[in-house]
């Protein structure tokens, strides 16, 4: 029996997921003020946090095997969401096409990771890890790029895996708070621009950051969701090229500028 079969037969997981979903939906969305910012918390954050709590070793609720089995299912759980996103883009198709210049150009904003991330990483004492950590938001395709170019057992590989795991653990919570914070304290940004910024190539983080925007501008819910989904789709398509041709070379240049002089790692198989 392979891992997916075991996961499917593990009724504890499905029942737990259902219970968490019902609890999260019963609590419902909340918004509260933190200083000048308005933070919005939604059921999707509760269900994630409660799920993570179920994994506490002290509760003895989930074993390591349960967690590994669950993670074999997570990819497919997104299928319904992606179908729903498609049906949000469809009715707004011409509106999205009309925004195409902004949608395409804002993709270059994803390089913002480099200029924020590399200096901070070097300041914190990371060396070659900085390149892997800060050249992208470290989703699955970015890991593949690092694996091929530097090898996964290299410092660059450690960097990209570190940010990947940071994303799976804190990404949804953090992006959701980030979006509510920016939306409520920086009137410079229109809701449409913020919606486009939500799409970074990770459906989970996109939804988590889009959710508070939809809550704040309910009249524009469909338009904002269509823009976010379209932007996420763009990132999925151009992400690899953007990384290979732009953000990775810029990272290499910037990290040297910040004083890290070590040569880039080479995958073990490629060494002579």
């Amino acid at each position: 029996m392979n891992i997916v079969d075991r996961a499917l037969r593990n009724w504890k997981l499905h029942i737990l997921a259902l219970i968490l979903t019902v609890i999260a939906e019963l609590i419902g969305p909340y918004s509260f003020d933190v200083g000048p910012a308005k933070l919005v918390v939604l059921p999707l954050l509760y269900s994630f946090a409660l799920g993570a709590l179920c994994g506490l070793p002290a509760l003895k609720l989930l074993s390591k095997d349960d967690m590994i089995e669950t993670s074999s299912l997570v990819g497919v759980t997104f299928f319904f969401l992606m179908a729903r996103y498609g049906t949000l883009v469809g009715p707004n198709f011409w509106k999205v096409v009309h925004s195409a210049p902004a949608l395409i150009l804002q993709e270059f904003g994803n390089i913002g990771t480099v200029f924020f991330g590399i200096p901070i990483a070097v300041m914190l004492g990371l060396r070659r890890e900085a390149v892997g950590a800060a050249f992208s938001n470290a989703r699955e395709s970015n890991i593949a790029i690092v694996g091929e170019k530097y090898g996964m057992d290299s410092p660059e590989g450690i960097g990209v895996m570190g940010v990947y795991v940071t994303g799976t653990v804190f990404g949804a919570l953090f992006c959701s708070f980030l979006a509510s914070f920016v939306a409520s304290t920086m009137p410079f940004f229109s809701p449409q621009a913020l919606a486009m910024a939500c799409g970074t190539g990770s459906a989970g983080m996109m939804s988590a950051s889009l959710a508070p925007l939809v809550k704040m501008w309910p009249d524009m819910a469909d338009e904002l969701s269509a823009l976010a989904a379209a932007s996420n789709m763009c990132s999925g398509l151009d992400g690899v090229y953007m990384c290979v041709f732009l953000s990775l070379p810029i990272s290499e240049w910037l990290v040297r500028l910040c004083g890290v002089k070590e040569a880039p790692s080479v995958p073990t198989g490629a060494k002579n």
Partner: protein
């Protein structure tokens, strides 16, 4: 990639969770039950079923296209989202009906069961995170800020330029 049979079973499990989550959350099924009785509440649940079946059809169609195309450069979700878009573009036969049906499924609510599974799985990553240390976490958070702000600034400037 999962085998087709495994995927079919799991999609049905997901569909049940989505239906119940949607009923409790966006349709306020339990409140309606209390106020107007079980029949009214059950009617709400029924309202969402056609939309859910449409989504299931889009998912199945997307996966089928993925299997039929020999080039595997795109993941199955890319076909799913594209198919969902095509069948609801104004002018596609029946697009309005399909859009009306799926609109009964709140898309933010769809994320609740997804993130429940993600949360249940997350414990296995905590060890890796401890091993990597807090510095990488800090860098990771700045990375997420960087891509969000970077994209938002460019989008805002281009939208303003287009408005002129």
């Amino acid at each position: 990639m999962m085998k087709s049979k495994q995927m079919a079973i799991f999609l049905i499990i997901c569909a049940v969770q989505i239906l119940i989550g949607n009923w409790v959350g966006s349709q306020q099924g339990l409140t309606v039950w209390g106020a107007q009785g079980a029949a009214a509440s059950a009617a709400l649940l029924q309202d969402a079923i056609p939309g859910l079946l449409v989504l299931l059809g889009i998912v199945a169609g997307g996966v089928l296209i993925y299997h039929l195309i020999p080039w595997k450069g795109l993941p199955a979700v890319a076909y799913i989202v594209t198919l969902g878009c095509v069948v609801t573009v104004p002018g596609f036969p029946g697009a309005e009906q399909l859009t009306a049906w799926v609109s009964k499924i709140n898309f933010i609510g769809l994320c609740t069961p997804i993130l429940a599974y993600a949360g249940l799985a997350v414990g296995k990553d905590i060890g890796v995170l401890k091993q990597q240390g807090w510095r990488i976490v800090v860098v990771g958070l700045f990375v997420f800020v960087g891509t969000f702000i970077g994209s938002a600034v460019i989008a805002e400037l281009v939208l303003r330029a287009m408005a002129h």
